[in-house]
């Protein structure tokens, strides 16, 4: 077992970093931060050119998503890169959750009847940038599966949800009987797709956490009070060490989950994903808050990037299941 990135993975990582530095750095993000419905951004076609949507194994997508997290990338890399089928339909958005049902997706009120889809989905990330919406719905027989609807189809409306984290644009999507094509059969296929989604979301969180820690460390090393860098004070050191611990345990668990998804049985993979998610949903939002605390007043401003990271990391608790949700699914 190889626990670091290979030379090829490092090369891909560097390429992704360069593209995002050119096309999607935080200053560019800020210009669209308050628009919940956004079209496709300039970085996406360049990422596609790099091959991120060529059906890579999840292990190879690890460095890609870490970089996306570091840059707070707000484009549709997730879920588009999750499987070759999704990539072919891409860019795509997953419409999974419904109003008032938290993370329960396996008994949707959204229905498909005679090839027409009806219902409302909430928290659909990158709904505005997607060409294809993949919707969890049940058919006339009551069986649950994924259905594909072009976002531009008649009968599809996307309404932005004003969210606290502008790097995660989300929308409410209403389906007034547009035509839908079956995309994947059965709840098992949906569950497997969500495991991939959760694992790579955690990896992106690790990337964002890594950058937040870098910002905090840089501040702790250079900011002086009482005649010395604040990083020399043990209470500040304690905050930084706590952040590092959260990050490295999260990173280890996240990469183990990618490995398991590529190589292990679905049950073992699910266990590994759930473990990583349980850790990340609790520890990474805390890391973001600690980073703000290291900055003091500066961290509490709209202008400083550390606040953007703090908000992005907090979304780990709300996007694809919170800590109790994941803990309850650990197969102990």
């Amino acid at each position: 077992v190889h626990l670091g990135y290979t030379a090829e993975q490092e090369a891909l990582r560097a390429s992704v970093r360069a593209v995002l530095a050119d096309h999607a750095p935080p200053p560019a993000l800020r210009s669209r931060y308050l628009e919940p419905v956004r079209g496709l951004d300039a970085a996406w076609p360049r990422l596609v050119e790099l091959g991120v949507a060529d059906g890579l194994e999840l292990r190879d997508l690890g460095p890609v998503l870490e970089e996306c997290g570091r840059a707070l990338y707000d484009g549709p890399v997730l879920p588009t890169v999750l499987t070759p089928e999704l990539a072919a339909a891409g860019p795509v958005a997953l419409a999974v959750f419904e109003p008032g049902r938290r993370y329960a997706w396996d008994a949707p009120a959204t229905t498909v009847s005679a090839g027409r889809l009806s219902g409302t989905k909430v928290h659909v990330f990158c709904a505005g940038a997607a060409e294809t919406l993949l919707v969890v719905a049940r058919d006339d027989t009551g069986s649950v599966g994924l259905w594909s609807v072009p976002r531009a189809a008649d009968g599809v409306t996307v309404e932005g949800e004003p969210a606290y984290d502008g790097s995660s644009p989300a929308g409410t999507v209403r389906f007034a009987a547009p035509a839908a094509q079956p995309f994947g059969a059965g709840a098992g296929a949906v569950a497997a797709l969500l495991d991939r989604m959760v694992a790579l979301t955690v990896v992106a969180g690790v990337g964002a956490g890594e950058r937040a820690l870098e910002l905090a460390l840089d501040h702790a090393r250079t900011r002086e009070q009482f005649g010395r860098p604040i990083g020399s004070f043990q209470l500040v050191q304690q905050l930084c060490v706590q952040m590092l611990t959260a990050l490295e345990l999260g990173r280890a668990a996240a990469h183990a989950a990618l490995w398991a998804l590529d190589t292990a049985s679905p049950d073992d993979a699910h266990a590994a994903v759930t473990l990583a998610a349980s850790w990340a949903t609790e520890a990474l939002p805390r890391l973001g808050a600690d980073a703000v605390q290291v900055f003091g007043g500066t961290g509490f401003t709209w202008e400083h990037d550390v606040g953007l990271y703090c908000k992005r990391l907090l979304t780990l608790q709300h996007a694809w299941g919170d800590t109790p949700h994941h803990l309850a699914r650990l197969p102990l």
Binding site: A163, Y164, Q225, G299, F300, P324
Partner: protein, 396 residues
């Protein structure tokens, strides 16, 4: 043990309650809000004036200063009652809580005349110029310079303040400046009153973490700002003592607002769970977290009462340092419990928090805004140092 105030204090509460029923700002006025802690809209000026005229502005002070010679316990009841009704008392807390008492303690008769009553009546507002880019936790390192003119008639001020709450709306700044750069850092600081309309002052509001369009605090730049020498408060180079005194005013009561807000937020979260997210009622993890937050709020009140009893007897009360640390962290914990409990609904900024601890907004914003409490007025790290050194007597 059941803690209750005595009959006299409860009589005071009834009398105050009856007055508030009649004179409190209307819901419409409260909803109008204000733009910053230095901004007094008309409704707020009228409200502060009613408090002043009725002797309810600073109850412990004499009648001519907007009080009624109330006892410490009555003052405690007063703060409890206002917080319980979610009524803002000091719309410009810098002026009422810090400037007025500091000018009363250290000002000349002319300064008291000019600043104290207009401040109490809500006619003028203040900001406090303390922190600077390189003087945050280490306030005594401040570098904003005030140099006496050759004829001694005025100071010329140059430098920069930051985190100056309400500066872009305030009429005056109680400003900490360096008047003797040669002296040890605590001994060369003076306090002067700066008219914020003076030429050479630029305010740059800094929007907060949660709101691109809401700024309470500012960066304030002073460029050759002329200040009459008579605006010196107290003795030149004795400003550090004033700063210690300034922050001590009302310290015995500051926790009350936070404690009541915490209690109200617990109630609001319980109601949200009951009414809007029914599955939470049976969620053992959530019930545990909510009960813990409730205990935090009650424990804070009990500790606050102990500290208050010492404060009222004129004794040192280390409880207040503990309350600042514990209260701000408890507030963060509770708001995080709320955002976690709401799950994906916390995402959507249209899901508002009924507790509205700071400003209207979703629970997530309340959580992010609560970060200010663990930073402002001394970070939690600084509080821990203070407790370790001054309360526990541990070596530096």
């Amino acid at each position: 043990v059941r803690l209750a105030h005595d009959a006299a204090a409860e009589a005071f509460r009834s009398e105050l309650g009856a007055w508030l029923d009649e004179h409190a700002p209307t819901a419409d006025e409260l909803a109008e809000g204000k733009l910053s802690s230095g901004h007094l809209p008309d409704w707020a000026r009228r409200w502060q004036r009613r408090l002043f005229d009725a002797g309810y502005l600073v109850p412990g002070w004499p009648r001519e200063l907007g009080g009624r010679d109330a006892s410490p316990v009555e003052t405690l009841v007063y703060f409890e009652e206002l917080a319980r009704r979610r009524l803002p008392r000091a719309l410009n807390p810098q002026g009422l809580g810090i400037v007025a008492p500091s000018v009363l303690d250290y000002g000349t008769p002319e300064q008291r005349e000019r600043y104290v009553l207009p401040t109490l009546r809500g006619e003028i507002t203040w900001c406090i110029g303390m922190s600077e880019p390189n003087a945050g936790s280490d306030l005594a390192s401040l570098r904003t310079r005030a140099v006496r003119s050759a004829d001694g008639s005025r100071y010329v001020v140059n430098g920069q303040k930051v985190w100056t709450s309400g500066a872009h709306h305030a009429d005056f700044c109680l400003c900490y400046v360096r008047t003797d750069p040669e002296a040890p850092k605590h001994k060369g600081i003076s306090v002067i009153v700066i008219d914020m309309r003076s030429p050479g002052i630029t305010c740059r509001p800094l929007p907060e973490l949660t709101d691109a369009d809401f700024a309470d605090f500012d960066e304030v730049f002073f460029s050759d700002v002329e200040v009459p020498a008579e605006n010196l408060l107290g003795t030149e180079n004795d400003g550090w003592r004033i700063s210690m005194g300034s922050l001590g005013h009302e310290r015995g009561m500051l926790w009350i607002n936070q404690q009541v807000q915490l209690e109200q937020a617990v109630d609001a979260l319980a109601a949200t769970a009951r009414d809007d997210h029914p599955h939470l009622a049976d969620d053992a993890v959530f019930r545990d977290a909510l009960a813990t937050a409730w205990i935090d709020a009650q424990a804070m009140k009990l500790l606050g009462y102990r500290g208050f009893a010492k404060f009222a007897r004129g004794q040192a009360a280390p409880e207040h340092s503990i309350l600042k640390l514990f209260g701000s962290e408890a507030e963060r914990r509770l708001n995080l419990v709320a955002t976690d409990a709401l799950g994906p609904a916390a995402w959507d900024a249209r899901e508002l928090c009924s507790a509205e601890t700071y400003r209207p907004g979703p629970w997530v914003d309340q959580y992010l805004r609560s970060f200010a409490q663990t930073i402002a007025g001394g970070t939690s790290e600084i509080q821990r140092n203070i407790i370790a050194e001054r309360v526990l007597g541990l070596p530096r």
